[in-house]
């Protein structure tokens, strides 16, 4: 009996300790109003964030804890798990598509920032590039069923473009100040690259979304936004000749030798290493790469260019807009302080500091005048940017996956553009039928 009593006592003690330990990590929102917790995934920007946090504490007395969770996949899972357990921090970012963003809002996790943005005749709102804000905005009557408003503050802007190595351009006998403007010129350079036994275009096409990004750029160039959106709505099939043209560009790139061998199994980090070490003539990458290249090879001589036009009928479009945004936890007890901090973080001085130290494009228009020259090359093209999160419609993930894997198959010579188009359309019809049911 005594043994039983001892055992029960030990069990009770452990249960109480366990309960205390668990409840200790259960609530991020219960922290004091003098501390704001921010979760993020941006490894390259963490030192700058920590520095800014110190400055903010000195200025206001409010402590800001920037907590880094990387890589981005792990971060994404952490945020979802925290949302399920209602343990999100005061400020956080969301990685994912617009529908994920909408789900977070509908689940009551994100504060509507519209009233703060509109205060003082839209003083905060007017600081941002409209393209950057659009990613965080839901218009009235949106397909996601979210109340109209602005739900996030962009802290930087990104644009995904092509880059070319000026030294290798000289080696190819090309003018380093005149990158190719048409797709035909680009393909011709591919042939020269093959002859000289150099490496052509590198990109993280093993990660799928970047190949999707270039395909979208060309879809906008060849058929225009309206037709792309009509395709997503299901009004135009992927077997349309314009879509076949888009897919054929990838076949042409493969045939010309402008693509590096193995590009479809390449992760973006590897692509960045290759380009930074002067081993590849072209790269398809986002504006964040400037910081990466600076770290890997400060002497790298390169320029920024739009993907060469495949059609002269329409302008070239690039993926871009808000790079990273922060949202305020709607359940946070520190909402007001969190909003004040975001306002401060997106002010001109802090944005200039972030651009200088991290080489990311500022989301604040006023900060543009003080950014490094190579950044301005990207900034010049921000107005040409578009992003699926601003289109108001979303393609089915299964269709996107079929398209992206299909493009990989075209690049490795396994499938024809027509085959990929038919497969994508079949999946589209299946998903549409499922939705109707």
């Amino acid at each position: 009996m005594r043994r039983l009593f001892c055992f029960a006592s030990v069990l009770l003690v452990f249960s109480v300790l366990g309960f205390i330990a668990l409840s200790g990590c259960s609530s991020q929102t219960a922290k004091s109003a003098n501390t704001i917790t921010v979760w993020h995934w941006m490894t390259d920007r963490d030192p700058a964030f920590q520095e800014l946090a110190k400055k903010y504490t000195q200025k206001t007395g409010i402590k800001v804890n920037f907590e880094l969770y990387a890589p981005s996949d792990a971060y994404s899972q952490k945020v979802r798990a925290a949302a399920q357990g209602q343990t999100l921090p005061d400020i956080f970012g969301i990685l994912g598509e617009k529908r994920d963003f909408a789900s977070f809002i509908k689940a009551g996790h994100i504060l509507n920032l519209t009233s703060y943005m509109e205060e003082g005749q839209g003083a905060w709102k007017n600081k941002f590039f409209s393209k950057a804000l659009a990613v965080n905005e839901f218009s009235s009557g949106n397909i996601y069923g979210v109340n109209a408003g602005i739900y996030g503050a962009p802290i930087d802007v990104m644009a995904i473009e092509m880059l070319y190595n000026k030294d290798l351009f000289r080696e190819l006998g090309l003018n380093p100040n005149r990158p190719p403007e048409t797709f035909a010129e680009f393909i011709d350079i591919g042939k020269k690259i093959k002859e000289k036994n150099l490496q052509g275009l590198v990109s993280g096409w093993g990660e799928l979304w970047m190949i999707d990004c270039l395909a979208n750029d060309y879809a906008f160039n060849i058929m225009g936004k309206d037709k792309v959106i009509a395709t997503i709505r299901g009004d135009v099939p992927y077997t349309d000749p314009d879509w076949i043209k888009v897919f054929t560009l990838f076949k042409e790139m493969r045939d010309s030798g402008v693509l590096v061998e193995g590009v479809v199994t390449m992760v973006n980090k590897t692509a960045e290493q290759l380009f930074a070490s002067n081993k590849a003539v072209f790269a398809f990458n986002g504006s964040w790469c400037l910081n990466v290249y600076k770290g890997m090879n400060p002497k790298l001589s390169y320029g920024v260019m739009l993907p060469p036009k495949a059609s002269q009928a329409r302008p070239m479009s690039i993926w871009g807009g808000a790079g990273s945004s922060f949202m305020v936890n709607a359940r946070s007890k520190n909402q007001e302080e969190a909003v004040k901090f975001l306002k401060w973080l997106t002010d001109k001085d802090q944005q200039v500091y972030l651009a200088d130290t991290t080489f990311n494009l500022p989301s604040n228009k006023e900060a543009l005048s003080k950014i490094p020259p190579i950044l301005t090359e990207f900034a010049d093209d921000v107005e040409l940017s578009t992003h699926p999160n601003t289109w108001g419609v979303s393609e089915f993930p299964a269709v996107i996956e079929t398209l992206d894997k299909g493009l990989q198959s075209i690049v490795i010579g396994e499938k024809t553009p027509e085959q990929v188009a038919s497969e994508a359309q079949a999946v589209k019809e299946r998903e549409l039928a499922k939705k109707r049911r």
């Binding site: 043994r3 039983l4 055992f7 029960a8 069990l11 452990f14 996949d73 994404s76 899972q77 979802r80 949302a83 399920q84 994912g96 598509e97 529908r99 994920d100 789900s103 977070f104 509908k106 689940a107 009551g108 996790h109 490496q199 993280g204 093993g206 990660e207 799928l208 590096v260 061998e261 193995g262 590009v263 479809v264 199994t265 390449m266 992760v267 590897t270 290493q273 290759l274 081993k279 993930p397 299964a398 996107i400 996956e401 894997k405 299909g406 990989q408 198959s409 490795i412 396994e414 299946r430």
Partner: protein, 295 residues
């Protein structure tokens, strides 16, 4: 009066039962329950869809079955090559050879390395664009230059290359278990066999093999469970699913959760995958029982 000691005994196993239930049984049923919902993993509301997710997996998701086949292919290679290598090396190290402790340490290094590191190192060894291209150089130097190509970016060789790297990474576990198994065989049995006139091959066949069957089964089950669930190495080597050629079930589950935000469907995939693994393990166990009876 007998109830009290019985109750007392049960109380002692209660913590283990509670912990096991919290971390294994309850999550299993919870995942099974979620598999019957259409849920994005964020919204508080879920739509009950019954067995629709499972029906979709079985009837309308060819990419899932391609992933299952790819995992089976890697597993078959691992079962044959990885375990054969592990057994041979364990058998060699069990004998009186010089520096056997050194070999024991060296053979156990690959399993303790991080999978992502192994993937990237092997990518460097194999690839010609972003690596040292050692394999192709070796082929050229021995006059087999015709076989030199981009192993990881060729759909015909990508999966086999992944499987072979997986074998290199995993054979150390099998080696360790086989070695422990071999060391439990009494030396007297070999001496008795020798006295009875058995040669080395007969001693191996009649003494080592029958006594090692339980160990072989254990290693085989662990190999199947470990290999079917491999995915980090694949990300390190080829960056992902490579147009479906290197897709495996765990990558598909992750794609459903992250890419498609179909948490319910991912749970259904997880349950289906788990059931397949249980069935395979059960078949292996039955097969080993039969093999033991025959030997």
């Amino acid at each position: 009066m007998r109830i009290k000691p019985t109750l007392e005994n049960y109380t002692f196993v209660l913590p283990a039962v509670i912990i096991f239930s919290i971390f294994y049984i309850i999550p299993f049923f919870w995942v099974f329950q979620l598999g019957m919902y259409d849920w994005d993993g964020i919204l508080p509301t879920k739509t009950f869809v019954g067995l629709a997710n499972f029906t979709e997996i079985f009837l309308h998701d060819p990419s899932w079955w391609q992933a299952m086949w790819n995992a089976t292919y890697i597993t078959l290679i691992a079962l044959i090559f990885q375990n054969a290598l592990a057994f041979l090396l364990a058998w060699a190290c069990d004998r009186e050879i010089r520096a056997k402790n050194f070999y024991r340490v060296v053979f156990f290094i690959p399993p303790i390395l991080s999978e992502i590191v192994v993937g990237m190192v092997w990518r460097f060894i194999i690839n010609d664009v972003d690596g040292a291209n050692m394999v192709n150089r070796l082929l050229v130097s021995v006059g087999l230059g015709n076989f030199a190509h981009n192993w990881l970016s060729d759909p015909k060789t990508a999966l086999t290359t992944v499987a072979l790297v997986h074998c290199w990474k995993g054979f150390g576990w099998g080696f360790l278990i086989f070695l422990a198994g071999l060391q439990t065989i009494p030396r007297e049995l070999y001496e008795a066999a020798r006295v009875d006139g058995a040669n080395a091959w007969q001693a191996f066949r009649k003494v080592t093999v029958p006594l090692m069957i339980p160990v072989v089964v254990l290693v085989a089950i662990l190999t199947v469970l470990g290999t079917m669930q491999a995915f980090v190495l694949i990300i390190g080597l080829v960056g992902g699913e490579f147009a479906g050629h290197t897709s495996v079930p765990v990558l598909r589950i992750l794609a459903s959760m992250r890419g498609s935000s179909r948490f319910g469907y991912a749970c259904a995939q997880g349950i289906t995958f788990g059931m397949v693994l249980v069935i395979i393990s059960f078949i292996q166990y039955r097969f080993s029982k039969r093999a033991r009876q025959i030997t």
